[in-house]
C-alpha cells in the first residue's frame, strides 16, 4: 500500500487547476450557477422590469390560468399577477436567506474562533451553549424563537440565523483548535502580536475556506426554512409576500387552482437546487481530499487490460509453483501514467522463501499484490505479462476463481495489523470467517479451528483471545492473529507484505522465527516483501531486489549478501543498521528514486549511482545472467568485473 500512497501523493503535487475553471468543469455546478445567476438577476432587477404591481388586486381576473393574456403565469385568488409576485417574492426570499446566512456565519464563526483559540474554560462554556442549542430539533427551535418574538419576516430571519449558528461554530472551532497549536501561531504569539491580530491575520485566512464551504452548504437550507416558516404563516405577513407565503396562500385553493401553489413551489425548488449544486461544486473545489480523487473506492479485483501486442501467454511457465513473467502494473491518475511495475519476472518453488527487497515506491508491494488482483482499481491495472499458479493462468481466471484462491491456495499477511484487521469484529470471528469462506465448517467447528490456529501461532489463552477485538491486543499479538488467519486453509503460497515493519525489534524477531518455523512445518512457500536486508537474511532463500518497478538483481540470499553485484543492492545492504541503532532509514541512500511516471531512458539508478558511466544513461539496461540463479541489471556489476570499485 505504501507504494500506492507514494505515487498518488507525488502526482498530486503536479498541477493545481484554478478554482473557477474546476467549478465550471463540473457541468451540474455550472448549470446551477446559470440558473442561480438568472434568478438573482431577475430579483435584483425587479423594480426595473416591466412587471405588474404585485399587490394590485383585480377581483374580475382572479385565478386566471398560466399563459393568460397579460398574465404569463396567471393570477392568484385576489387577481394579482403571479409572475410579478414571484419575482418580488424571490427577492424577499433571497434577501432573507442571504442575510440569515451572513448573520449565522458571522456569529457562528466568531464563537468558533474564540472558543478554538482561547481553549480551556472559554471553549468549554461556549461549546456547552452550542450543544444546548443543538439539543433542540432544528426547526422546533426556530418555532420556539418565533413563538417568543412573534410571527414576522424579520423574526423568522433571526430564528433561522440562530439555529444555524452551531454549524458554523462547531466547524470553525475544530479547525481553529488545530491551527492554534501550530508553529506559525506560536511564532506570531512569541513575536508579541496581540490575540486579536493573530486571530485576524494568522488564523482567519486559514479558516476562510471552511466558512465559505459551510455557507455554501447551509444557505439552501436557510432559504428553505424561511420559506417554511412563511408557509406556516409565521414568516412574511400580508401584504408582504415571499415564496413561502405565496405557497401557503395557494395551498388553501390547491384543488381548484393548483398552479397558484405549484409555481412558487417550483421556484423555491429551483432556487434551492441551484444553490445546492453550486454549493457542492464549491465544496469539491475547496476540499482537497476530493480534488486529489482520493475518494475512489477500489473494486474487488485489479483491472486487467493486457496490451495485445505483448502476447500475454507467449511466455510459458517454468513449471514452478508460482510464475510471474513480464508483469506490468500501472496507475492512471488523471492524465499521468505511473508504471509501478515495469516487466517483472519471478518464480517461486515449493517450500521456498523469496524475498522482494526495495525502497518505498520501488514497486515491490504492487508486484506482490498484483498476483491475487489486490492492487486497488481505480487507479491501478495490470497491463501486461502472465501469472501462473500451478499451471493455472491467474490473469485469465474468473473473479470467482480468484476469490476461491484468495485465502485458499494463496494467503496474505499485511504490514500494519491494526489497520488490516477489522476493528469491529472479534479476532475469533475474523479467523473463523477465513475458514468458512473455504471449508464446509459449521460456526462452532470454525471457532474450534480458530482456537487451534491461535495456539499454533503461540498466543496464550487462545480460547479467551478469540473474544478480543484487535484494539485490545498488542501489535505483536495482532500480527500473530494475521498470520493465524493466513494459515487457516493450509495455503501453498503466503504473500507477506512487510509483515514485521510495524513491529518493534524484539517482536519482529519473534514473528520472523514463527514464520520460519511454520514454513518448515506446513511446507508452504513465502513471498516476503521487505525493505530490510536484515530481515531478508533471517528468512529468505533467494532475493529479488527491485528498483523503480524493475528487478535489478536476483540470486541466492547468501551469495548476494556476500557479494552484491548491483550498486543499489550494495547500498541497501549497507543500510542494515548496526546493533544499537534501531532507526532504519533507507533514505540514507542519497537522492530519491525517479518518479515512475517519468523514468529515465537508461538505468533508473544511474542518477544516484556512485559509479555511473555515460553509457548507463544512454540506453535501457537488460537483466544479465551472472551465473546460476544469479542476474543483475547493471553494465558494471560490482564483484564480477574488474577495475571498478564501489567505494567512490
Amino acid at each position: 500500500m505504501s507504494a500506492v500512497a507514494q505515487t498518488v501523493s507525488r502526482s498530486k503535487a503536479g498541477g493545481r487547476p484554478q478554482g473557477l475553471r474546476l467549478l465550471l468543469n463540473n457541468r451540474l455546478a455550472a448549470a446551477g450557477l446559470v440558473v442561480l445567476a438568472l434568478m438573482i438577476a431577475a430579483a435584483l432587477a425587479a423594480p426595473l422590469l416591466p412587471l405588474a404591481d404585485p399587490n394590485a388586486t383585480a377581483p374580475a381576473d382572479r385565478l386566471l390560468r398560466p399563459l393568460s393574456e397579460g398574465h404569463l403565469l396567471g393570477t392568484d385568488a385576489l387577481g394579482r399577477d403571479i409572475l410579478s409576485r414571484l419575482v418580488w417574492g424571490a427577492r424577499v426570499s433571497l434577501a432573507v436567506g442571504i442575510s440569515a446566512t451572513v448573520i449565522a456565519a458571522f456569529v457562528g464563526s466568531l464563537i468558533g474562533l474564540v472558543a478554538g483559540y482561547a481553549g480551556g474554560r472559554t471553549d468549554n462554556l461556549l461549546m456547552r451553549g452550542i450543544d444546548m442549542v443543538m439539543a433542540f430539533p432544528y426547526i422546533l427551535l426556530a418555532l420556539a424563537i418565533v413563538a417568543v418574538l412573534g410571527p414576522g419576516l424579520l423574526n423568522a430571519l433571526y430564528a433561522i440565523a440562530v439555529i444555524n449558528v452551531p454549524f458554523f461554530a462547531r466547524n470553525i472551532r475544530g479547525i481553529t483548535l488545530g491551527l492554534s497549536r501550530r508553529e506559525f501561531v506560536d511564532a506570531a504569539r512569541l513575536s508579541g502580536k496581540s490575540h486579536l491580530k493573530i486571530l485576524t491575520t494568522e488564523i482567519l485566512p486559514n479558516v476562510l475556506p471552511v466558512i465559505v464551504i459551510t455557507m455554501s452548504t447551509t444557505i439552501g437550507w436557510m432559504i428553505l426554512e424561511t420559506a417554511g416558516l412563511s408557509f406556516l404563516g409565521l414568516g412574511a405577513q400580508p401584504p408582504q409576500a415571499d415564496l413561502g407565503s405565496m405557497l401557503g396562500e395557494g395551498r388553501k385553493i390547491l384543488f381548484n387552482a393548483p398552479h397558484v401553489s405549484i409555481i412558487p413551489g417550483v421556484a423555491i425548488f429551483l432556487l434551492v437546487m441551484s444553490i445546492n449544486l453550486v454549493g457542492d461544486g464549491i465544496r469539491d473545489v475547496l476540499d482537497p481530499r476530493l480534488r486529489s480523487g482520493a475518494l475512489t473506492r477500489p473494486v474487488a479485483r485489479t483491472a486487467i487490460e493486457l496490451d495485445d501486442e505483448e502476447g500475454p501467454s507467449s511466455r510459458t511457465s517454468g513449471g514452478n509453483l508460482l510464475d510471474v513473467a513480464g508483469l506490468r502494473t500501472e496507475f492512471r491518475i488523471g492524465p499521468t501514467v505511473h508504471e509501478a511495475v515495469g516487466g517483472v519476472d519471478l518464480h517461486l518453488a515449493g517450500a521456498e522463501c523469496l524475498g522482494i527487497v526495495g525502497e518505498s515506491g520501488s514497486g515491490k508491494s504492487v508486484t506482490a499484490m498484483s498476483i491475487m488482483g489486490l492492487v486497488p482499481t481505480p487507479p491501478g491495472r495490470i497491463t501486461g505479462g502472465a501469472i501462473t499458479l500451478k499451471d493455472e493462468d491467474l490473469l485469465a481466471a474468473s473473479d470467482e476463481r480468484i476469490r476461491q484462491l484468495r485465502g485458499g491456495a494463496v494467503s496474505h499477511v499485511f504490514q500494519d495489523p491494526l489497520a488490516t484487521l477489522h476493528p469491529l469484529f472479534t479476532v475469533g470471528d475474523q479467523i473463523a470467517e477465513a475458514i468458512t469462506a473455504h471449508q464446509p465448517a459449521s460456526r462452532s467447528q470454525a471457532w474450534k479451528k480458530a482456537e487451534e490456529l491461535l495456539r499454533l501461532v503461540r498466543i496464550s489463552n487462545p480460547a479467551q483471545r478469540l473474544d478480543a477485538y484487535p484494539h485490545e491486543l498488542s501489535g505483536g499479538m495482532r500480527q500473530r492473529v494475521s498470520i493465524a488467519m493466513a494459515l487457516a486453509n493450509d495455503a501453498d503460497v503466503l504473500i507477506a507484505d512487510e509483515p514485521t515493519t510495524a513491529l518493534d525489534v524484539t517482536v519482529q524477531a519473534q514473528v520472523l522465527a514463527l514464520m520460519n518455523k511454520l514454513r518448515r512445518e506446513k511446507n508452504a512457500s513465502i513471498l516476503f516483501i521487505t525493505h530490510d536486508f536484515g530481515v531478508v537474511s533471517a528468512i529468505c532463500d533467494r532475493v529479488a531486489v527491485m528498483y523503480a518497478g524493475k528487478i535489478v538483481e536476483t540470486g541466492r540470499t547468501s551469495e548476494i549478501l556476500a557479494a552484491p553485484a548491483h550498486p543499489y543492492t550494495r547500498k541497501l545492504i549497507d543500510c542494515v543498521p548496526v546493533l544499537g541503532e534501531p532507526e532504519r532509514r533507507l533514505d540514507a541512500i542519497e537522492g530519491l528514486p525517479p518518479p515512475v511516471s517519468d523514468l529515465p531512458q537508461g538505468c533508473a539508478f544511474a542518477p544516484r549511482c556512485p559509479i555511473a558511466q555515460p553509457e548507463c544513461r544512454a540506453q535501457a539496461v537488460e537483466l544479465a545472467p551472472l551465473g546460476k540463479e544469479r542476474a543483475a541489471r547493471c553494465l558494471y556489476p560490482l564483484t564480477h568485473t574488474t577495475g571498478v570499485s564501489a567505494d567512490g
Binding site: 444546548m132 422546533l140 417554511g228 475518494l295 473506492r297 485465502g407 489497520a419 477465513a434 469462506a437
Partner: protein, 315 residues
Amino acid sequence: MAAYTLRRLLAAIPVLFGLTLLVFLMMALIPGDPATAILGSYATPDNVARLNAALGLDKPLPQQYLIWLGNLFQGDLGRSYALNRPVLDEVLERFSATLILAGTSLVICSVLGLLAGIVSAVRQFGWTDRIVTFIVLVGISTPSFFLGLLLILLFAVKLRLFPASGMYAVYGGGDLADLLHHLVLPALTLSVVAAGVVARLTRTSMLEVLRQDYIRTARAKGLTELRVIYRHAFKSALVAVIPVIGIQAGFVLGGAVYIETVFQWPGIGAMLVNAISTRDILLVQGGVLVVAASYVLFNLAADLFQSILDPRLRR
C-alpha cells in the same frame, strides 16, 4: 457495556435540565405580560396584578423556575387557556400521533438512505451512482411542504389512492389498516429529505471504508464481494452514519410541523403552529419541551446503538 450505558444515561440528565432551563427562560423572556394576554387589554391593573400573583409571576425568576420545575416533576405543565385543558394531556395525546409519523419516517429514511448510499458507493461513477446522486440532490432541495402538496394532488386528487388528510377515516375507520393508509403519504413526504442526507453520508462513509486496509484483508481472505460490502464495509460505515440518523430524528420531529400542517395530521407540530398563532404560551412551552426531550432520548439511543457496533467507543 452496562457501565457505559449507565454513564450515558447519567450524562443525558444535565442536558435535559439544560433544556428545561432554556425553555423556561425563552418563555419567561417573552415581551408583554401573560396576565394581560390572558385577561385581554381591557383588564384593570388590579386584576392583572392579582392574576400575576396567582400565576407566581411576581416572584424572582430563579424562584419561578424552581416552582415551574417542581410542577413539571408532578406532571403539571399548566393549563392551555385556549383549549381549557391541562397542557400535559393535550401534549401527550398530540405527541403520540407525531411519534407514529416521525418514527415511521425515521425507519423509511434510514432504510432508503442506507440502501441508496451503499448502491451509489459500490457503483461509484457508474450510471446507478449518477442517477441516485441526482435523485438525492433533488430530494434534499425539494421543500417538504411543497412535495406534500404535489403528492396530495397526484395520489389523493388524481389517482385517489391515498387520503389527503387526517389520521383516521371519519366514518368506519380506526383500525391499523386505516392508520397505515393515512400514514403513507405524510410519512413518505417527511422522510425524503432525511433519506437524502442519510444516503449522501452513507455513500461518503462507504467510499471511505472501502479504501481501508481491512477491506483488502477481507478480500484477501477470499470472502465474497457481497460479504465484503454488506458485512465488513457496511458495519464500519453504519457506525459513522448512526449519529447522523440520530440527527435526522430531529429533522423529522421538527419537519413534522410542516407535514402535519399539510396533511392535517393531529400531531404536536400542527398543535404548535396553532398555539403560536393564538399566543397560547404554556402550550408552546409544553410542546417544545416534550419534543426536545424526546430528541435527546433519540440521540441517546443512537449513541448506545453506535457503541454496540463499535467496541472502541465503550470505554
